[in-house]
């Protein structure tokens, strides 16, 4: 058994998320050595980075830092490939980041980026995607093995006292039914394993289409080149608003169903703001606190995206739902799975993911891997078969490397709940006269 297999074999073992660093680190280091040697053979882009930065042998975990990518890597394809429909080039690009061959992908009559993604899935490349405000989509390739790991991870939810998949929950997912997003892929696994086949509800039954997102990028390009007309800009902004109106209507219907079924077990998945809105709507309809079934699961996470809620919004939400279960984690679409939250609100390390705390610039360790360290979060995920998954993020985190601490009942490495974002470059009051067209594209398109 290799070190990597040992780490992956810990899933759902009693000590999976509570191992002390003294036991975990030697295994992780060994697994990282195995993996790096293999991936350097498979990925010229990683091999080149290793040669450029002079990383040859891993003596300690921090030696991996020069080999971390930023999220840019997974969207480094030229937009023109998408706009010109050059799917062969897109496939070649994804191939440079993928360990397995892209030869089997059928590209005949691919019309748009959603078709392309479907063809990738059909050929066993289970890519998931993310997108930022720029409208450029990142593509993160996964093998069948990577997809299976996520499914296995979700076979137990609500650690440390997990519930089992028994197809007895009503499913309420406050998003579209499907699409190549990590959140939607995971929600579908949960629905399939835990959900009653006759009662699965989604905010939208449509598949989430990447084309809608890339259209925004196209619009930006048109504006930059001065080809957009005022009515096209107005139409693009109105389209975004109309979608919002439609969603609000459907959301209200879902809230009615949730209230009606509140005495039966259900899994509600959505953002904190949506949970807050469910609470407010239910209260307005006279539903008192604590009426939900004790096997109900509230699955949420992420930030508030600018929404203005009181500081104790989570307490208020759980007071309303009552003695229900909760599944929360710290993670991102790029990671194979999230760090699960314990009952004290701290996020526990997954054994095959090596976390790093870097300085603000994301270059050097913020401190030795001991005690409590604050800085920019980065990680190497040793599980991924399809790609080299070492990434520097924009999150500012506090990580406690100690085996035990007074704040938590469970031992092991934890991430503190106080996660925030680093300011982007350019928000630091350094002023220069150079700029881009982005400064000239304002309004909802440019936001």
């Amino acid at each position: 058994m290799t070190a990597r297999e040992t780490l992956l074999g810990m899933l759902h073992q009693p000590n999976c998320y509570t191992m002390p660093q003294s036991e975990l680190v030697p295994l992780q280091l060994e697994a990282a050595r195995e993996l790096l040697a293999e991936r350097r053979q498979q990925l010229p882009i990683l091999d080149r980075r290793a040669r450029e930065t002079g990383v040859d042998r891993l003596e300690k975990l921090d030696d991996l830092i020069p080999l971390l990518f930023s999220h840019t890597t997974f969207k480094s394809y030229p937009n023109s490939f998408v706009q010109n429909g050059q799917w062969d080039r897109m496939t070649k690009w994804l191939g440079t980041l993928t360990t397995t061959s892209m030869d089997g992908v059928d590209l005949t009559q691919v019309e748009d980026i959603d078709d392309w993604v479907s063809r990738l899935w059909a050929a066993g490349h289970f890519v998931n995607t993310t997108s930022g405000t720029s409208g450029k989509v990142s593509f993160l390739n996964r093998t069948k093995g990577d997809a299976d790991l996520l499914r296995r991870y979700l076979q137990r939810i609500c650690w440390p006292e997990p519930i089992l998949p028994e197809n007895k929950h009503h499913i309420f997912f406050l998003g579209p039914r499907s699409g190549p997003y990590m959140l939607l892929i995971a929600a579908n696994h949960v629905a399939e394993m835990y959900g009653r086949p006759d009662s699965r509800h989604y905010l939208s039954d449509d598949r989430l289409r990447l084309t809608d997102i890339t259209r925004m990028a196209e619009m930006r390009l048109k504006m930059a080149e001065g080809r957009a007309t005022p009515s096209e800009i107005a139409a693009a902004e109105e389209n975004a608003r109309n979608q919002g109106v439609e969603m609000a209507k459907r959301f209200s219907e879902m809230v009615d169903q949730i209230i009606r079924l509140r005495h039966e077990p259900m899994i509600i998945t959505g953002g904190w703001l949506q949970m807050w809105q469910i609470m407010e709507a239910a209260k307005a309809r006279g539903v008192p606190n604590g009426e939900f079934h004790p096997d109900t699961v509230i699955q949420s996470g992420g930030g508030l995206k600018g929404a203005n809620l009181p500081a104790d919004y989570r307490e208020q939400i759980f007071e309303f739902f009552g003695h229900v279960r909760t599944q929360q984690g710290y993670g991102m679409s790029e990671m194979s799975c999230g760090f699960p939250m314990d009952k004290d609100g701290y996020y526990h390390q997954v054994p095959w993911i090596i976390p790093f705390v870097l300085d603000k610039e994301g270059v050097k360790p913020a401190g030795p891997r001991e005690g409590v360290v604050e800085g920019r979060y980065a990680y190497v995920d040793l599980s991924n078969e399809a790609r080299w998954n070492g990434l520097i993020t924009g999150d500012r985190v506090t990580i406690d490397f100690r085996e035990t601490r007074p704040e938590t009942r469970l031992p092991g490495l934890v991430v503190h709940p106080n996660i925030s974002r680093y300011a982007n470059i350019g928000e630091e009051d350094k002023i220069g006269c150079a700029g881009t067209i982005d400064a000239y594209i304002s309004g909802e398109i440019g936001a």
Binding site: P44, I45, R48, R49, E52, F69, S70, T72, T73, S76, Y77, P78, N79, S80, R89, K92, W93, T96, K136, A224, E225, G226, D359, K360, G362, V363, K364, A366, G367, G375, I392, I425, G426, E427, E428, D429, K430, I431, G432, C433, A434, G435, T436, I437, D438, A439, Y440
Partner: protein, 459 residues
């Protein structure tokens, strides 16, 4: 804790109405400034500004003397500022040193006169009234009256501080300079030198230079008001412009040197001979590497009339030229940001659609392609794009385009009107993007003309 935070903050002085102010009460982490007394930063409208009625000749005398003292720097003020900038600033030491050496020349009398003549059409109008008669026989007199200005400075090149002080002085108005965190020293050093050559002079009393964090409502909400100032003069910086917009309204105007980007256009003529191609590559590299490509004038995209093979030969020469040290460029003094490095690595893996020359070692990277890349090339990175005809490349110029460097110069005549129609502001012969902007329009207007207040006396 980062390494930076463990070092004691660098002391930054303020300059308020002719006096240097020291003190580190306001700690910003990497640096500390004196506490800000916002009352001291305004000049009440109940009184005229200190230099409103000082003759322009006398203003110029003080500026010329300031420049001469900057040249010799007997009290070491400028040297000190240079050392502080070299420690904390973003520019390479050599580039910064040469940029500092150029500063005193900007204060030469012939340049001051050229500036005023060019941007206002004469010096007379700063001291008195110019008379005109309209076709109906009605007469009017008008004058460039001293304004009340807040300047939000950019810090990517020290010349910004110098030209802002020069123009501010030539208006005879009052000038509050808001320092950027990437140049906390140059403006103050120049003003201190001015105070040494003309202590207590109305001109030195017309200037303040202080730091507050851009967007700080506790300061901007109270200072940026028409009861105190007429105009906000902002250099680039999308963030600072957006913040400034909040305060612009009747009686408080924005004069914006917008954030800009620059490009080059290279005609087929470059391939006339190997010698010509080498000269073109050198000129192109000069325009790209201005202030290690941190300026609005620095070229980032080059459109070239060539076959792929010809373009490859050019790119190789160009990358070699970009590694050379120049007046405003280091040999290898810039670090490529990680995100950009990964964009480049992504394209490097896409041969033959993209070809990349150079490493991320600061000596310059050239990316050759058929379409412009999606990212903003910086830190000595240029995208060479092959086109059949330069006229086709005009569509890549827009409202964000400042300078377009063209080779050969004869092609400018055909291209300049098309470029202007697309939104570009400035056409130059390839290799000469540095300089200019004084006594002629800059960023689409005559700056001094925009800074002053035009008042009339009619009958």
């Amino acid at each position: 804790m980062t390494e930076l935070a463990r070092i004691a903050p660098v002391a930054v002085n303020h300059f308020v109405k002719g006096e240097m102010i020291a003190g580190g009460e306001a700690n910003y982490g990497a640096f500390a400034t004196p506490a800000l007394d916002i009352d001291s930063l305004v000049w009440q409208r109940t009184e005229a500004g200190p230099a409103f009625f000082t003759p322009i000749a006398e203003i110029m005398d003080v500026l010329v003397a300031t420049g001469e003292r900057m040249q010799t720097d007997p009290s070491g003020v400028l040297t000190e500022a240079f050392e502080a900038m070299a420690q904390v600033g973003d520019l390479d030491r050599g580039v910064l040193q040469r940029a500092y050496e150029l500063l005193p020349k900007m204060f030469a009398r012939d340049w001051l006169r050229f500036l005023v003549e060019g941007e206002l059409g004469g010096v007379d109008i700063l001291d008195g009234w110019r008379k005109v008669t309209d076709p109906s026989g009605r007469t009017a007199q008008y004058r460039a009256f001293p304004p009340r200005l807040v300047h939000v400075l950019a810090g990517n090149a020290p010349g910004v501080a110098a030209i802002s002080i020069i123009r501010g002085a030539l208006t005879k108005g009052i000038n509050l300079l808001k320092l950027p965190s990437n140049d906390l020293f140059t403006a103050t050093a120049i003003l201190q030198t001015m105070a040494e050559v003309a202590p207590g002079h109305p001109l030195t009393k017309s200037f303040s230079a202080v730091y507050w964090k851009g967007g700080d409502e506790n300061v901007e909400k109270y200072l940026l008001r028409p009861i105190f100032f007429d105009k906000l003069v902002a250099w680039g910086g999308e963030g600072s412009l957006r913040s400034a917009k909040k305060y612009v309204g009747p009686g408080f105007e924005l004069v914006a040197f917008d954030p800009k980007t620059s490009i080059s256009m290279i005609g087929r003529e470059a391939f006339a001979s190997p010698e010509t191609l080498a000269e073109v590559a050198e000129a192109a590299a000069t325009d790209i590497c201005l202030y290690d490509q941190s300026a609005c004038t620095s070229s980032r995209f080059q459109f070239i009339e060539a076959s792929m093979e010809e373009a490859e030969a050019y790119c190789e020469l160009l990358q070699a030229e970009m590694g050379k040290e120049r007046l405003t460029a280091s040999g290898c003094g810039v670090r490529i940001p990680p995100a950009l490095r990964e964009e480049i690595e992504g394209l490097r893996a896409l041969e033959p659609f993209y070809k990349v020359w150079g490493e991320s070692d600061g000596r310059g990277v050239v990316v050759l392609s058929e379409d412009p890349v999606d990212f903003h090339p910086e830190a000595k990175t240029v995208n060479v794009v092959v086109v059949d005809r330069l006229e086709e490349a005009v569509r890549y110029a827009g409202v964000a385009t400042q300078t377009v460097g063209i080779y050969p110069p004869e092609r400018k005549v055909d291209l300049r009107d098309r470029l202007a129609a697309a939104g570009a502001q400035r056409v130059v012969t390839l290799g000469t993007a540095l300089g200019g902007g004084v006594g002629i329009p800059h960023d689409g207007f005559f700056p001094l003309h925009r800074l002053v207040r035009w008042v009339t006396d009619e009958c």
